[in-house]
């Protein structure tokens, strides 16, 4: 009996890995087909994609550079997801955090560097956290769907950034400079991990934050409360947990994490804030969290996959003249398949009989673990406060 249970567990764990891998292969195949249809040299495109990911020491470093911010925005989505909420506002939170952090990073000087770093990170975290908490408050106070408010706040944040890079007192006043915020002072710039590449120690910080995410969600009482709310909001309510307070907290922590990601990309990579410096990172983070099932290790692997694809995509554009946007298309397809737990069994039934296309008899099958997880996303809907 015990042996059976073990075997089943192993099987379901294997399945959890099988589906994302299968999705990746399928998505790359579909991407290949699309490129052929559009008249691009698909073989050359994938060759240069591979070169851009693993082709050299620099390519690997570049993949890790792209991985770093995705870890932050993925946690930003995953943390709220685990708490039964949906945060599509990672991008806005990242930008607001980056603005706050870069104000402190460029204006302060003459204080010890460790203190300066603490202040910068605190400001970036606070900026993102406030931006995130707005959606949380709107949800618990006014029942405004966080799905829409987080997205609207993204656009508002983008306009705010646009204002900051072109107007006093925020903009850089160097004569002839393109619109941007001032460069951060030299001693707060993050050191390089690999000389002669762009890989900076922000990557280590990302791993650290991932560890903190794990410890907080799975080893603290507050994390437990959040996860209970995610699994079963009724249980959280009946157990007397401060459900509303927790929702706002989850959004604040998620926003703060995204904000940290924003400032780290500035301190480690670009050194000054420009419009669009993090464009697309928010939704890519959502995709990474989905692919990684909101688990710390899953997020790390998925972030590397997406970061590597992004890095390779840039190479693909220069070497094979295929727009790097093709990569986001492929990433979207990966997620389509990866979040469809019934995909494999559906293909199975299709292979067994071509008929009964719409009459899947899936009810008798035990859903894989990832299916149960995926189905619980609707928890927001079964919120006891919402039901009439």
């Amino acid at each position: 009996m015990n042996q059976n249970a073990k075997q089943f567990r192993f099987k379901s764990e294997l399945k959890q890995l099988l589906l994302p891998l299968f999705s990746l292969v399928l998505a790359l195949a579909l991407g290949y087909l699309t490129m052929l249809l559009m008249g691009y040299d698909a073989a050359k495109a994938y060759q240069s994609l591979w070169q851009g990911i693993f082709g050299s020491r620099n390519a690997i470093a570049e993949s890790l550079v792209q991985t770093t911010p995705l870890i932050f925005t993925a946690i930003s989505y995953a943390l709220t997801y685990k708490a039964g909420l949906i945060n599509l506002g990672g991008e806005g939170q990242l930008y607001i955090g980056a603005v706050w952090g870069s104000v402190l990073g460029s204006r302060l000087s003459g204080i010890p560097v460790w203190l300066h770093w603490i202040l910068i990170f605190a400001a970036a975290f606070a900026g993102g956290a406030i931006w995130g908490a707005i959606s949380g408050l709107l949800k618990v106070r006014f029942k405004a769907s966080e799905l829409i408010t987080t997205i609207m706040l993204n656009y508002i944040a983008l306009e705010w950034v646009s204002f900051c890079v072109t107007n006093l007192p925020f903009k850089d006043q160097t004569a002839g400079a393109a619109p941007r915020m001032p460069t951060v002072v030299d001693n707060v710039k993050l050191s390089l991990l690999l000389p002669k590449t762009r890989l900076h120690s922000g990557f280590i910080l990302a791993l650290l934050v991932l560890l903190i995410y794990y410890l907080f969600m799975w080893k603290t009482t507050k994390g437990f409360e959040l996860r209970v709310n995610g699994q079963n909001p009724n249980a959280a309510l009946y157990a007397g947990m401060p459900v509303k307070h927790n929702a706002v907290l989850a959004f604040a922590l998620a926003g703060g994490t995204a904000g940290l990601g924003g400032i780290i990309n500035i301190l480690g990579l670009q050194y000054f804030l420009t419009e669009g410096f993090a464009s697309g990172l928010g939704f890519s983070g959502v995709a990474v969290a989905l692919l990684g099932n909101s688990q710390p290790l899953g997020i790390l692997l998925a972030a590397f996959l997406f970061g590597a694809l992004n890095a390779g995509g840039i190479r693909m554009q220069t070497a094979a003249a295929v727009p790097s946007a093709m990569i986001s298309m492929i990433q979207g397809i990966i997620i389509f398949f990866a979040v469809s737990p019934y995909l494999l069994s559906w293909i199975g039934t299709q292979l067994i009989s071509g008929r009964n296309r719409h009459n899947l008899s899936l009810q008798n099958q035990l859903p894989p673990e990832s299916a149960q997880l995926a189905m619980t996303t609707d928890r927001g809907k079964s919120d006891p406060e919402k039901s009439r």
Binding site: E159, N167, V339, S340
Partner: protein, 304 residues
């Protein structure tokens, strides 16, 4: 007097121009929401349709653009239904993935097919006679065909939703799918049909963004209009007529923005650009508690 009239005319035209794509997309979303499907892929559908419309128009003229946009909306909706209804994946997650997919696809298509062609926009069709009326003639009877169809569609769809057998089936599928099933309504078939319908409308809405509001495609030009259409749907309390009111209100906010851009506030245009997004949030704050939101919204239906 003349000046005030002119200002008013310009304001209302700007209002309608902004409202049309929101309304068109929201009409479809009202139907899919009522059947229990939350379709946040609307943004991506509009984006792909906007680029498809531009491509169609560049190679086959405006009608070709409209047709290609509708087809792309339908195709996108098919992808969405395959994953959410056939494979029962989470609707919000699939919608998010679709938007990422669409962002990539639209840019790729744009770079590949629209690099060195000219796009023709939808032509204006003045209604003979009526458009000659003073003041109101130009305001209400000198638009693109799609604009008339959109506003004519509102009462029609209101009728279908509330007074027809089909509408009853749709609303029941969103409220009590299990009960529907027990009286022989094929819930998933109803939902599929409704999502495909809303895909076509989202496609046409997208075509109006590239061919009606402008005569070109710019990457990222949909800029949240699909999400706003979702908000229009909520703000309009999930009815076609309500959606029309909401879309016109959103359009008015946008028209106000353009009006203020010409004043000295124009140098702070970023804050004016925030207006439509702020209005969306405020509208959700005011109206989310009283709502026709279907009970089974967002939940996949599993036949027993």
């Amino acid at each position: 007097m003349e000046g005030i009239l002119n200002t008013l005319t310009n304001f209302i035209s700007a209002d309608v121009r902004t409202a049309v794509p929101l309304l068109l997309c929201a009409l479809g979303l009202v139907f899919s929401e009522r059947a229990g499907i939350v379709n946040i892929a609307a943004e991506g559908l509009m984006l792909i349709a906007a680029v498809s419309a531009a491509i169609g128009s560049a190679y086959f003229g405006p009608w070709g653009g409209a047709l290609l946009a509708a087809i792309s909306g339908l195709a996108g909706a098919l992808i969405f239904t395959f994953f959410t209804i056939t494979l029962r994946a989470n609707q919000i997650v699939v919608g998010t993935a679709f938007n990422i997919f669409a962002a990539g696809l639209s840019v790729t298509l744009n770079r590949r097919f629209l690099a060195d062609v000219t796009v023709t926009g939808y032509p204006l069709r003045a209604i003979p006679g009526l458009s000659q009326l003073p003041f109101v003639g130009d305001l209400f009877f000198n638009w693109q065909l799609l604009v008339y169809l959109t506003f004519l569609g509102v009462p029609l769809l209101q009728f279908v939703l509330y007074r027809s057998n089909l509408g009853l089936k749709i609303r029941a599928s969103g409220e009590q799918p299990r009960a529907c099933d027990s009286v022989g309504i094929k819930v998933n078939r109803v939902r599929t049909g409704v999502v495909l319908f809303s895909g076509i409308l989202a496609g046409l809405a997208g075509s109006y963004v590239s061919l009606g509001q402008a005569s070109t495609f710019i990457e990222g030009m949909v800029a949240g209009k699909g999400f706003m259409a979702l908000a229009v749907c909520v703000f309009g309390n999930y009815t076609p007529v309500g959606a029309m009111g909401a879309a016109l209100l959103f359009g008015a906010a946008d028209a106000l923005k353009y009006r203020l851009l010409t004043t000295e506030l124009g140098s702070y245009y970023q804050f004016l650009n925030m207006l439509p997004y702020l209005i969306t949030i405020i509208s959700l704050m005011l109206l989310s508690h009283r709502s026709n939101k279907p009970a089974a919204s967002g939940k996949p239906y599993i036949k027993e």
